[in-house]
């Protein structure tokens, strides 16, 4: 069992608190991503779990054991580093075999395991090569093989794909996920790339200023952001403030916002008079659906940017810029009412009520 329990884990560097009383539970075999901007504490938290850093407060348990004070070499974890950290003086074979030799495996068993991983990761032909003779993707696979070789209970990834090009990143991303789920490893993956987090994770922990801002599966995180920070960091979001006017019908609340009155369908009643609210650019309905007049808005079309599958359209409503994704190519002159304005509707269920305005 390699479930992980973090209880009030804190790490300070001088006066700066990098990780602030973080508590979380990660189940055996789960793939969890620590997502956040630079300096949010995600790598520090990973280093605390791996043992490279010792917490100033709180405890870390792996399985049944409290490992808070154990050095990395005594923990059932293996790390894939951002820089790959391959041993430059050792061949690919020796790199993968390193951890096994440290564990005192017999030579024949080491060879068998290395061959097995070499086949799995398509590295056999590169066994005699030194790391500097490999491409970035191959080096990444060697790092992965070296970490997997020791059959750790927990595998930790510190932005392992950040040095790869976009195309390769996508393929390695699936490869990592496949290997992790086949080996039923508990994985903690650090990234600041939201698409990577959304594509790979069972659960995402969004970190901000050393604290977990929101934890949930990718759908929850994306479709029901709890805070302004999460809404803004994951995907694109239009963030506005709204004042509660009243409940139109059961579970449907009216908000006065700078872009007009909006009807919002939310499970719970707003907890304050004024709230931050948000909606995603792709949730705006530009064509069709004339039956419903709620949340219908007119905006003056400003800048547009063709993105391939959709066009980013920026409209201005009462001096507030809002962003929409319009399917396919979009020509400002030939769209909407033909006068440079665009009418669109935001479905009530797609507007999210965030934290109260301070």
């Amino acid at each position: 069992m390699a479930n992980i329990v973090l209880s009030d884990v804190t790490k300070k560097f001088g006066a700066f608190t990098a990780v602030d009383r973080v508590s979380a539970q990660i189940s055996d075999g789960e793939f969890v991503t620590l997502l956040g901007p630079s300096g949010c504490g995600k790598t520090t938290l990973l280093n605390l779990i791996s043992g490279f850093l010792e917490p100033d407060g709180g405890t870390i348990s792996i399985g049944e054991d409290d490992v808070s004070a154990l050095p990395p070499e005594k923990r059932d974890t293996a790390m894939c580093f951002q820089s790959y950290a391959l041993f430059p003086h050792l061949s690919v074979h020796q790199n993968i075999a390193f951890g096994l030799k440290q564990k005192g495996w017999k030579r024949s068993d080491v060879d068998q395991r290395v061959q097995e991983l070499g086949g799995q990761l398509d590295l056999t032909a590169n066994f005699p090569k030194l790391p500097n003779q490999l491409s970035g993707g191959q080096q990444q696979r060697v790092a992965l093989g070296r970490a997997l070789a020791v059959r750790p209970g927990v595998i930790l990834f510190d932005e392992p794909l950040s040095n790869l090009d976009a195309k390769l990143r996508e393929s390695v991303r699936f490869e990592i996920r496949k290997i992790q789920s086949e080996a039923k490893l508990t994985a903690i993956y650090v990234t600041h790339d939201q698409s990577e987090a959304l594509a790979m994770s069972d659960r995402i922990f969004v970190l901000n200023a050393g604290r977990i801002e929101q934890a949930g599966n990718p759908h929850e995180i994306y479709n029901a952001p709890a805070t302004r920070f999460v809404a803004d960091f994951i995907g694109a979001a239009n963030l506005i403030e709204g004042e509660v006017v009243g409940e139109e019908s059961a579970g449907r609340w009216l908000f006065d916002t700078p872009i007009g009155r909006l009807c919002v369908e939310c499970g719970a009643a707003p907890s304050a008079k004024r709230h931050h609210i948000c909606w995603r650019p792709e949730d705006a309905l530009v064509e069709g659906d004339t039956s419903n007049n709620a949340n219908r808005l007119d905006g003056a079309v400003g800048a547009t940017a063709f993105q391939g599958a959709y066009t980013d359209v920026f409209v201005t409503i009462n001096g507030i810029s809002q962003r929409l994704h319009v399917g396919g190519a979009f020509a400002a002159s030939g769209s909407g009412k033909g006068d440079g304005t665009l009418t669109f509707r935001i479905p009530e269920t797609k507007i999210h009520v965030l934290e109260p305005v301070a």
């Binding site: 580093f81 820089s83 430059p88 061949s91 951890g99 440290q102 564990k103 070296r146 970490a147 020791v150």
Partner: protein, 283 residues
């Protein structure tokens, strides 16, 4: 590369390396041929093995060879062994690390002879150590610490003088090893010793070899420390060579000189290969 380019490089290097090669080559040649009776400064010049035969027959010669090899190799190995932990300690800057580093390297600025005389003042019959031990009531009377039979005084001076040099070379090499690589070793189960043996040493083996060779050659050919603080019952090769030259026996001095050169080359080669075999990975 074309012959023209080779010629250009050769001509550019000639004023520097050419001069060095000429002088070193001339000295080596002179010593070598003199050891066989040629270019004789005192007497007939003719090829002869007499001088080699006479020297090899002397017990003092072999004692000298053994003693110089002992001083050279122990100084080199201990200096490097002491410099490694210090280099690792100073790898990451910390408050005061610059001052510590400067203090450790201070012996490089002190001339060897000055250091030797300071050392003698400390260990002399009426020196600081003897007075302190008597003052503390640990010794009843002064003891003879100077010119000890095992050459510990010389070794101490050699290590004191050469360790900072090894530190200088190793610090750069050790600093170039990234934290991630060392952390990867830890993560895969390597403790302190294994990390040193399997990662740090192989990745800094070139600096280690350079330090070993340079210190070995310097200590092997030591004259000043040996003359001031060395044992009186044996001579270093440099001292032995001076003994002959001061008596005008240039051919015998040349035999000892050639021995010194051969031992320098062989010892340096052995240390280089040994370091590579013990620690060296592929690079």
């Amino acid at each position: 590369m074309t012959a023209r380019n080779w010629l250009k490089i050769g001509l550019l290097l000639l004023p520097g390396i050419g001069l060095i090669l000429f002088f070193i080559g001339a000295v080596i040649y002179m010593a070598f041929v003199q050891s066989f009776g040629l270019y004789n400064l005192a007497g007939e010049s003719e090829f002869s093995l007499t001088f080699w035969t006479k020297i090899i027959a002397r017990k003092a010669y072999f004692r000298s060879v053994g003693y110089s090899l002992y001083i050279g190799s122990v100084s080199a190995i201990v200096s490097v062994a002491l410099a490694y932990p210090l280099a690792l300690w100073l790898r990451k800057p910390f408050t005061g690390s610059l001052a510590v580093s400067a203090m450790l390297k201070a012996p490089l600025l002190v001339h060897g002879l000055v250091a030797a005389f300071l050392f003698i003042n400390i260990i002399a019959y009426h020196g600081i150590i003897n007075q302190a031990m008597q003052g503390l009531g640990l010794w009843d009377e002064p003891r003879r610490l100077q010119n000890d039979n095992y050459g510990f005084g010389v070794l101490l001076l050699q290590i004191w003088k050469n360790m900072p040099f090894a530190l200088l070379l190793l610090t750069g090499a050790v600093q170039s090893i990234s934290d991630d690589i060392l952390n990867a070793g830890r993560d895969l189960g390597a403790g302190n010793f294994d990390r040193f043996r399997k990662i740090i040493a192989p990745l800094s083996v070139s600096a280690m070899q350079a330090a070993l060779v340079i210190i070995f050659i310097g200590a092997l050919a030591d004259f000043s420390f040996q003359t001031i603080a060395g044992p009186t019952n044996r001579q270093s090769l440099a001292q032995y060579m001076t003994f002959f030259s001061s008596k005008g026996r240039w051919n015998e001095a040349a035999v000892v000189g050639v021995t010194l050169m051969v031992l320098s080359l062989t010892g340096a080669g052995i240390l280089t290969v040994a370091a590579r075999l013990l620690f060296g990975g592929r690079r």
